[in-house]
């Protein structure tokens, strides 16, 4: 009983704190856009250089069908590249962690590749594969793949010595040890990679579209900027941000569902 009532008052306190923090943020947020809106007027900035946010909303709304369709295209490229990066990267990371041969061959190769900016490959892929969806998916894949693989290798290599010994002392086989201990123990570090990749996925898609495409938000932003329409460019950027937020939100949600016990998730929940 005693703990229940203290839990409730805790919850109340947390809610109060949340409202307090959010109010500050909301005021800052509104203030930011007000300053933007009126400084365009006050400093008499030409509309083809910077437009007030009200124009962005109004003109973006008018162009909504196109923006939504291009968001769908860019979102699809992002999601496909990201999901394939996980499907390929996670098992490969595991294999490298458990195989000394792979660790001495592929692993150093990956570490070198990690240093090269993957975006630099975009023109090549577009020249090989044309303007379609595939080269963009590949670029997103490349951007996401390395953080996922490298974090997976780290994750499956860092079981504590004590737990390794515990597993050996039970006489459990490789497979049972993997399912019961190694896999769950590795999940938090894997999610570090998933989240990092999610943040960078839309960057890959947008830049690939800048370089060569006839649809998608990257294409849209480039065209409207050429037409001296920064208002529409901002609208495109807004939708690009939205795709990134949705992907990151989905990964964070998955993390909460899959590893609710982990400290990083617990910390978010209590503060």
């Amino acid at each position: 009983m005693a703990t229940e009532s203290s839990d409730q008052s805790n919850l109340g306190a947390k809610f109060g704190a949340l409202v307090n923090q959010s109010w500050m943020f909301i005021i800052f947020f509104i203030g930011f856009f007000l300053v933007w809106e009126y400084s365009v007027v006050v400093f008499d900035i030409p509309k083809y250089i910077l437009t007030p946010p009200s124009d962005v909303v109004r003109n973006g709304w008018a162009d909504l069908p196109k923006l939504l369709y291009f968001s769908y295209i860019t979102g699809l490229e992002t999601l496909l590249g990201y999901v394939v990066a996980i499907i390929v990267g996670l098992p490969l990371g595991m294999a490298i962690a458990f195989s000394s041969v792979l660790r001495r061959t592929i692993y150093p190769f990956f570490v070198c590749l990690e240093m090269t900016p993957k975006i630099a490959f975009a023109p090549l892929f577009i020249s090989w594969l044309g303007f379609g969806l595939l080269p963009k998916v590949i670029i997103v894949f490349l951007v996401c793949f390395f953080p996922i693989v490298l974090n997976a290798i780290l994750a499956f290599n860092s079981l504590s010595e004590e737990l390794t010994r515990f597993c050996r002392s039970t006489g459990a086989g490789v497979w049972r040890t993997f399912l019961r201990v190694r896999l769950p123990a590795a999940m938090p570090q894997c999610f570090v990679g998933f989240k990092y990749a999610a943040i960078n996925a839309t960057v890959g898609a947008a830049i690939a579209e800048f370089i060569g495409s006839d649809q998608g938000l990257g294409f849209y932003i480039q065209i409207v900027t050429g037409n001296m329409r920064p208002d529409l460019a901002f609208a495109g950027i807004f939708f690009l941000t939205l795709i990134g937020l949705l992907l990151f939100g989905a990964v964070t949600l998955a993390e909460r569902l899959i590893i609710p016990w982990h400290i990083s998730v617990r910390r978010v929940r209590t503060t």
Partner: protein
């Protein structure tokens, strides 16, 4: 009857050449079935190393260890081990952690439900069976780790400083539980500690180990009757054992 555990001239070194570390031994020691033997020695003398060798998790450099008439060559599965850091996993509840020991051995936790609850009851953790390790105090975590280490009813238990990181009050109360667990099931226990009082209170024998490379200096029989509660600490015999061991350590210059 031959002793249950026989440590024969066991020595352990790490590394080689210029970086060779003489970690432990040579040591010979026989341990009879059902004894509670404490290994008492200064930090770094090789107690953990000996535990790992007894468990078959670390090879001996020379000599051999014989358990139940067989030389230890691979990880021993019929022992219960508590490592210096506990092996509770954060993604399982207390009960889930105890079940983990069973599942890893291919045993069905549902068939051992009564036993698990009985064990948790004995260490006063029944109300916390469905809590996660991070929701427990250090003392409760160690109690849970005891249950994890002995749920498969091992006939030998290797406990490496299970109370090392706890405060004095918690230590006292867990000692009592540990003693009653030992008395009801009567496994052979090898218990590492660096508290002289703790060793004398719990053990039937105390092996005093020298600084690194550890050797057994004395094997002292503690003949006080079990169970030994806090009152035993006032008995002249208890006090004289503690003094005797303190003198030995003073001789090494470690206290």
């Amino acid at each position: 009857m031959p002793p249950l555990i026989s440590i024969e001239n066991v020595r352990k070194t790490f590394g080689s050449g210029a970086s060779l570390v003489d970690a432990f031994g040579p040591v010979s020691l026989d341990i009879e079935e059902g004894q509670f033997v404490s290994l008492l020695g200064p930090s770094g003398c090789g107690k953990s190393t000996l535990m790992l060798m007894l468990a078959g998790l670390l090879d001996v450099t020379s000599g051999q260890i014989i358990v139940d008439g067989k030389a230890v060559k691979a990880p021993q599965t019929d022992v219960g081990i508590m490592f210096q850091d506990n092996t509770l996993v954060p993604w399982r509840t207390v009960r889930g952690n105890v079940d983990l020991q069973l599942e890893m051995r291919g045993l069905d936790p549902r068939r051992y439900k009564d036993r698990v609850l009985d064990l948790l009851g004995q260490v006063k953790l029944l109300d916390f069976a469905d809590r996660f390790p991070h929701e427990l105090s250090g003392g409760m975590q160690q109690r849970a780790a005891f249950c994890q280490a002995m749920v498969h009813d091992p006939h030998i238990m290797l406990l490496d400083e299970p109370l090392g990181k706890l405060d004095a009050m918690t230590r006292e109360s867990i000692r009592t539980d540990l003693q009653s667990l030992w008395m009801t099931r009567r496994p052979t226990v090898i218990f590492v500690t660096h508290s002289i009082e703790e060793a004398v209170q719990l053990s039937s024998q105390v092996a005093v180990i020298t600084p690194r490379p550890g050797r057994i200096d004395r094997l002292i029989d503690i003949n006080l009757p079990f169970p030994r509660d806090l009152g035993v600490k006032n008995s002249p015999e208890f006090i004289s054992h503690v003094r005797e061991i303190q003198e030995i350590f003073r001789g090494y210059g470690v206290i």
